[in-house]
Symmetry: C2
DNA sequence: TTGGCTCGAACGATCGTTCGGTCGGCTCGA
DNA sequence: TCGAGCCGACCGAACGATCGTTCGAGCCAA
């Protein structure tokens, strides 16, 4: 990277410090993963140096290595956290009971909540390019998740619960794209999460247009 | 990048060769921009080395520098092409005549077409992180485009043309996210472009749900 | 004194870029 | 028609910078 760095926010204070000892804060692995995920998202994984990460954690690069195994291990830990959150949705009872549309709608709404709760980690997941074995592994798992949604869209379509004239495969892609696009703009606090869930649900299933009666629509 | 590279597609033949002379193909700048955009998207901009680019073009790294100014210049050229395509939509007559909803719907449909026509370049634009001055410039222009759409959504909402209960600001983000998510999965030839335009339009404005009458909906 | 924590210094590798020079087709005066 | 000279295309080698990672020695609370 020859390019000049962006303004480099000044509020990168040492994170974590989950101990009572104040003079020498110690860093638990999960808090460093959180810091790393945040910086990865700001600069992009490949453009982020270990120097950037250690600076964001408030220690030198070599001290940083005392706590973490390496750059790729940090990435993997963050991706695992994102994937655990997403696949956890599929294990919920509501994800496998009721009509296909009911299940799909529940998953979508929960997916919004997980995206918000694990924003940095899911953001990382959604921007992977597959350059390393770790990235390809995470991409494969992400495809599994998308495939589950696509299967549900296909079921709902076969059951006549979805609009005719939308190809289920395309509709599933658009649905996932709509939900996932949250990570590009949502920042905590700006919009209430329950409002966001309701808006994404309406947008996805009823569209932007006015005055369509929305049969069987959920209450807000 | 220490990570092992992905399988490295074998079909990276020298592009361009817009001359009749066969023994020594010459490379016009625009064809090299196209090659670069494709590889940038495969590996990510920062993870792509000039060696990768020159290999994809079929020449050595030093030869490659005979044709292009540098890595960032290639990025800028690709981004300009994407931005020209997008802003060209706003200059079309149909983008400024009719009701806000009519204009919005036209822009969205044209945006899908431009995304498909300039897929690699727009993809690059949508993945920027803002690490260099060039990237920040392109991001600023992209925000201009999104702001134009957001303004139109606000207008249409004020005119009562959009569903009540969707915040215009959020709706505009979701709409852009829905359309832009195309670059993550659409590949030319798989879905007919006019079909795709119709499906994105339906999805965005009428939603996935069945049996809503869609007043004033466009013919397909 | 022990042992976790911190650090400066340096490792080899790879990055984007530059440089000097070779090759071969084209131009143009003889 | 010919050949000398030119010039764009091409390449190997190397530049300094930065990358991820390692090492060993200090520091300080227990």
């Amino acid at each position: 990277m020859t390019g000049t760095r962006p303004p480099a926010r000044e509020d990168e204070r040492p994170a974590g410090a989950a101990r009572e000892r104040r003079s020498r804060p110690t860093y638990d692995p999960s808090s460093l993963v959180e810091v790393a995920a945040r910086v990865f998202n700001e600069r992009g994984y490949d453009a982020t140096s270990m120097e950037d990460l250690s600076a964001a954690a408030g220690i030198t690069k070599s001290s940083f290595y005392h706590h973490v195994r390496g750059k790729e291990a940090l990435l993997r830990a963050a991706l695992e956290r994102a994937l655990d959150g997403l696949f956890g949705i599929l294990d919920e009872p509501a994800a496998s009971t009721g009509s296909p549309l009911t299940r799909l709608r529940h998953i979508v709404r929960r997916q919004v909540e997980v995206l918000v709760a694990e924003l940095p980690h899911v953001t990382l997941l959604l921007r992977l390019r597959g350059n390393t074995e770790t990235e390809r592994w995470a991409l494969a798992r992400r495809r599994e998740f998308d495939a589950a949604i696509a299967a549900l869209v296909r079921e709902a379509s076969s059951a006549g619960e979805l609009r005719a004239g939308i190809d289920p495969a395309v509709g599933a892609r658009l649905l996932s794209g709509l939900v996932n696009s949250l990570v590009e703009w949502y920042r905590p606090g700006r919009v209430d999460v329950s409002d966001l869930v309701a808006e994404v649900d309406r947008m996805a299933f009823e569209g932007l247009l006015a005055q369509s009666p929305a049969p069987g629509g959920r209450p807000t």
